[in-house]
């Protein structure tokens, strides 16, 4: 057996099979989504299904080329590739034409290309190279700063291209960091921040009583207290302290409710005051019990209060108006079915009307009649939902899950940190795309325009995902050679 050449035995054919299934299924659905009454052939290159056919063929060609190249190249040229892509991103800012407000597309004649898609693979390779070195320590500040820069640099450049959605994808690498030793608390804090944001924005317009504060703030503060209570009771077994906290909170709530009968009280201030007092309480406990954990609880509490207080400000001043409405629509604060809520509502209608088995391939009325905008790109899952029904869309989700779990299995069987980091990068990016794209289509996520891997129409995304996946397969195929 010649070294590294017998792919037949070393290649992960399961992933290849899933890949081929997904791209062909995607191509068929793009034909369905762009299907019209006077429909031309699926191979007609003047329509999107025809073009996607070309992208599918070239992507398979690209996959072949990647598999034939030497596996060492990807490690060797990682930084160079990253540098090249960064230059390309910078150039794009100046060269790109304006497409629906985004300046991320480079146009070469009939073909346009989005360098931001390539940046994910380049960053993944660069991160893998950096983290794969023997000296790397994820908990040392010396290493963390360049690591942050690797991610931050393309993000900023992509935000400058007004492609916020694609920039957010780089947050997915946090999942890989977690696997590589980042404290899990970071992920939990992220979840806490999201929940606090949803609570304080989502209920910011719901008054408790007239002129008595908002449900949003009170619920947020309550959540912080619950976190404190759970930490004290279940992680440290400090039942007495936890009970004291509980009783004081109930007492203060009751007193302020009674006082409110005579003096109008803004419950917001009561709630914030109680939580602020609780952080002092935990500080004292941490001193008495010599427990540093409570100190962290105190800092998290203070941070959360500040976050909640500034959430409104962040929402109103940092987010752009269309982003604000997208979030408001998601949180049911606004039902603007003709405007911002149109996409999501139509998308839910299309999927919901699919029923158990769907309307059958090419029989979807909603997609055929163009009710869902962007239905062959970001909203391609609508077509799946409408024409293949619950059964079909569940199968597609399970196939994606299969792919993700398979990639993690591949990651865990690698012999080098480079390979494993890269594999986790791939899994994280795919997972992020899936979660955000399908979440958006079924109305569980705000509208963030990123494609569904392998299904959405578009050469850039298909090529980039192919590149990403087949570099992994190439590395995996060569792992036994160490």
């Amino acid at each position: 057996m010649r070294r590294g050449t017998n792919l037949k035995y070393s290649l992960d054919w399961t992933v290849v099979g899933i890949y081929l299934f997904l791209i062909v299924f995607g191509w068929l659905n793009i034909y369905g989504a762009s299907y019209d009454f006077d429909q031309s052939s699926i191979f007609d290159f003047s329509n999107r299904a025809g073009k996607q056919f070309v992208w599918v063929l070239t992507a398979v060609g690209l996959a072949g080329v990647i598999l034939l190249l030497d596996w060492r190249l990807y490690n060797y040229f990682a930084y160079l590739f990253y540098g090249f892509v960064i230059l390309l991103l910078i150039a794009t800012i100046f060269l790109a034409t304006d497409v629906k407000g985004s300046r991320s597309w480079l146009v070469f004649g009939p073909v346009s290309f989005q360098p931001a898609e390539l940046a994910k693979t380049a960053t993944a390779l660069a991160l893998a190279r950096f983290m794969g070195s023997y000296k790397f320590q994820i908990r040392s500040w010396k290493d963390l700063v360049p690591l942050g820069m690797f991610i931050f640099l393309p993000m900023v450049l992509i935000v400058l291209q007004r492609e916020t959605g694609s920039a957010l994808v780089f947050l997915a690498f946090l999942l890989m960091f977690y696997r590589e030793g980042m404290d899990g608390i970071v992920l939990l804090l992220g979840v806490l921040a999201v929940v606090l944001f949803v609570l304080s924005i989502g209920f910011s317009e719901v008054p408790i009583q007239e002129n008595s504060g908002t449900l949003g703030m009170v619920l947020s503060m309550l959540l912080i207290l619950v976190v404190q209570y759970v930490y004290a009771l279940f992680f440290n077994n400090h039942g007495r302290e936890a009970t004291w906290l509980l009783l004081s909170v109930i007492g203060i709530a009751a007193i302020s409710y009674v006082l409110n009968i005579w003096f109008p009280i803004n419950y917001d201030y009561i709630a914030i005051g109680v939580v602020a007092a609780s952080s002092i309480y935990w500080f004292i406990i941490s001193r008495l019990k010599h427990n540093k954990g409570y100190l962290a609880v105190m800092w998290i509490t203070i941070g959360s209060i500040l976050f909640c207080l500034s959430a409104d400000y962040l929402f109103d001043n940092v987010l752009e108006p269309h982003q604000q409405t997208r979030i408001k629509v998601l949180l049911n604060m606004e039902e603007d079915l003709r405007g911002a809520g149109y996409n999501v509502n139509q998308s839910k209608i299309a999927i919901g009307s699919g029923g158990l088995f769907g309307k059958g391939y090419l029989n979807g009325t909603q997609t055929k009649l163009k009710y869902v905008p962007e239905q062959d790109t970001d909203f391609i899952f609508c077509t799946v939902g409408e024409e293949w029904g619950f059964v079909g869309s569940t199968i597609v989700l399970l196939i994606y899950l299969w792919l993700l779990l398979r990639i993690i299995r591949i990651a865990e069987r690698q012999n080098t940190a480079f390979n494993r980091v890269y594999a986790y990068c791939v899994a994280s990016v795919f997972f992020f795309h899936l979660m955000v794209n399908i979440g958006m289509v079924i109305g569980l996520m705000p509208v963030i325009g990123i494609p569904l891997p392998f299904l959405s129409y578009g050469g850039s995304s298909l090529w980039s995902f192919t590149l990403m996946l087949f570099i992994l397969l190439r590395l995996d195929a060569a792992r036994k050679l160490y």
Partner: protein, 611 residues
């Protein structure tokens, strides 16, 4: 394998991924299986249910002459959210309307107070019942006005300008009708009065639906499943009425420039042969776009042409009532066939006699001569048969027996089991009525003496009068009068239970009226008829002229009741009109055309316009 101590984190990541996917699958389950509203949303998105209006049932007369049929009409409808870049000026120009009218009409349609079911997603009617020449100019340019489209339906067309009251008309449905019947949508048309109203459910048929596919911009992209799911409209059922249109037209002609009505019934079947009310109108006036204009014109005429005097006007029947009184008196034992009463002519008390005849007088002569005192005595002996009793209890009992038997002729109540659109109840006064007026014991036979000669509080409609004549013609019963020929009403037989032999006496009396009495001037050539005239005082000018009768005497085919308001003698106004109509119906010929012309020219009320 390296870095093993962190390998469990791979499992954590797997669990995170699985959790997210499970949440998404549950969400899909709720969207696609549990929730129904998205399926409905999809249908209202993509399907444009275009209503196909069925042709309304035709209406024929009893001899299969077509009376009412359909002509195509066009509605301009719109779906508000599909209107894009409308060139209002050119639209108005094509429709020949003003910009102001356009704005006003749009505002009206969108006003939810007036049009509660307005929605920008559903078709709304902008203009209705346009004729082909109105829509022809816009038809070619319709593609320019996205959101607007033409909807075809039918309008009524009438072969004869007669029978407006009987046939009725169709008009736009009211909000209340929409609320009560799911079948209707705003802008639909339904029978509003007459037969069109009564037989609305049969005549209207069933609407069909053509399901069209509509894309996100509102463009029609074709038919859903090539029309497999379309519902074909079901044409309305035709209606054959009991009306003889020739007789109806003759009646309307004879009543020209007169206020009054004629009702003719076939006694054996209760079929109404003619129901004339004048002033009347051409039913074609209440069709299409000029309907509302004409309707208010008719509504504002002080003589009320829309009012169907045949069924809605109530009169004191006067002397015509005497024949029924004779029967009631005989049956209740107030008189016997050979009872004679004295009559002192103008000197009679308490009721004078207006006729000159010998005395004492028999029943037959009393009918022939219309002797008032005779019928007063009859009435009195009928209701005073058992004296007055304590607190007039016996008297009231007798009065109620009289009243019940009188009402058995169909007086004093509406015909409930019929298809006649609007009727008045009339009035045969109850004891309660008089108790309230005079006090419990404050009234006696003499107090209500006017009733005996059909005056006073008694009120009847011409329809009731004709029906009561049918009882005499049938010798004891009537079949509920009705207008639908296809519906045999023979089971709706109402018996008076008056002995048949008494009818022979009244029949003889009425024959004498026609032969020797007030009817003798207008005998039907070659046909023996029976009749009774009436000349009824009223407080609005000249007397009302009344005639009731039937012919032929043996096996009567037609009964008739005619009223000409403020005309004078029944014998000179109502009798000839009835005679001519009976002749026309029985012989299908007219031997006295000059009499027809003469009466159609006679004027009692110059304001009684024919619309």
């Amino acid at each position: 394998m390296i870095n093993d101590k962190l390998q469990n984190r791979g499992t954590v990541i797997k669990i995170i991924m699985i959790t997210v996917m499970v949440i998404y699958i549950l969400r899909l389950f709720s969207l696609q299986i549990l929730e129904d509203k998205y399926k409905k949303g999809a249908a209202s998105n993509a399907f444009l249910n275009k209503t196909i209006f069925p042709p309304r049932g035709l209406i024929y007369d009893r001899n299969d002459s077509l009376l009412v049929y359909n002509k195509p009409a066009y509605d301009i409808a719109f779906i508000n959210r599909e209107i894009q870049n409308l060139d209002t000026l050119s639209f108005c120009k094509d429709l020949k309307i003003t910009k102001e009218y356009f704005d006003e009409r749009m505002k009206e349609v969108k006003n939810r107070d007036k049009n509660p079911s307005y929605s920008s997603y559903t078709p709304q009617v902008f203009m209705t019942q346009l004729e082909i020449q109105d829509v022809a100019p816009i038809q070619q340019s319709m593609y320019k006005y996205s959101g607007f489209y033409i909807q075809t339906r039918t309008l009524r067309e009438y072969r004869y300008a007669a029978g407006g009251h009987v046939l009725g008309s169709i008009g736009e449905v009211t909000p209340k009708m929409i609320e009560n019947d799911d079948y209707y949508n705003p802008g639909d048309y339904a029978g509003r009065d007459g037969l069109e109203n009564t037989y609305e459910k049969e005549l209207r048929g069933e609407k069909g639906v053509e399901i069209l596919l509509r894309d996100a911009r509102g463009r029609i992209k074709g038919r859903y499943e090539d029309g497999a799911k379309d519902i074909a409209p079901k044409a309305g059922t035709n209606l054959k009425t009991t009306i003889d249109i020739q007789l109806q037209m003759l009646g309307e002609k004879l009543l020209t420039k007169k206020v009054g009505s004629v009702v003719a019934i076939e006694p054996k079947t209760g079929e109404i042969l003619a129901m004339v009310s004048n002033p009347t109108f051409n039913p074609a006036l209440l069709v299409g776009r000029q309907r509302s204009k004409n309707y208010s014109l008719l509504l504002n005429d002080p003589i009320k042409p829309l009012y169907n005097r045949a069924t809605q006007a109530t009169y004191s029947p006067g002397s015509t009532f005497k024949v029924f009184q004779a029967l009631v008196g005989l049956e209740l034992g107030g008189i016997k066939p050979d009872t004679r009463f004295y009559c002192f002519g103008r000197g009679s008390s308490p009721i004078r006699c207006t006729h000159h005849h010998g005395t004492s007088i028999t029943l037959l002569n009393a009918i022939e001569q219309s002797c008032n005192p005779y019928f007063w005595h009859t009435f009195r002996s009928t209701i005073e048969k058992n004296e007055y009793g304590n607190k007039n209890v016996q008297f009231k009992k007798s009065y109620n027996a009289w009243r019940d038997l009188t009402m058995a002729f169909g007086f004093g109540k509406r015909f409930e089991d019929t298809d006649i659109y609007q009727q008045s109840r009339g009035n045969i006064p109850s004891t309660d009525f008089y108790d309230k007026f005079f006090g419990e014991t404050g009234w006696r036979a003499v107090t209500i003496r006017s009733l005996s000669i059909g005056q006073g509080e008694i009120l009847v409609t011409p329809l009731q009068l004709a029906n009561a004549v049918a009882v005499i013609a049938n010798k004891g019963h009537y079949i509920t009068p009705h207008l639908n020929k296809a519906d045999s009403m023979l089971t709706h037989r109402h018996e008076t239970n008056i002995d048949k032999k008494y009818f022979d006496i009244v029949d003889e009396g009425m024959w004498r009226v026609s032969e020797f009495g007030t009817g003798r001037w207008y005998k039907i050539p070659g046909i023996v008829s029976c009749g009774k005239t009436g000349t009824v005082q009223n407080n609005r000018g000249k007397d009302h002229a009344f005639y009731i009768g039937y012919a032929p005497r043996e096996n009567p085919q037609i009964v008739i009741a005619a009223v000409v308001e403020n005309a004078g003698f029944g014998a000179t106004w109502a009798a000839p009109i009835s005679s001519l109509m009976m002749e026309q119906y029985l012989t299908k010929k007219m031997t006295r055309p000059q009499l027809v012309e003469e009466y159609s020219r006679r004027v009692t009320n110059p304001n009684a316009k024919r619309y």
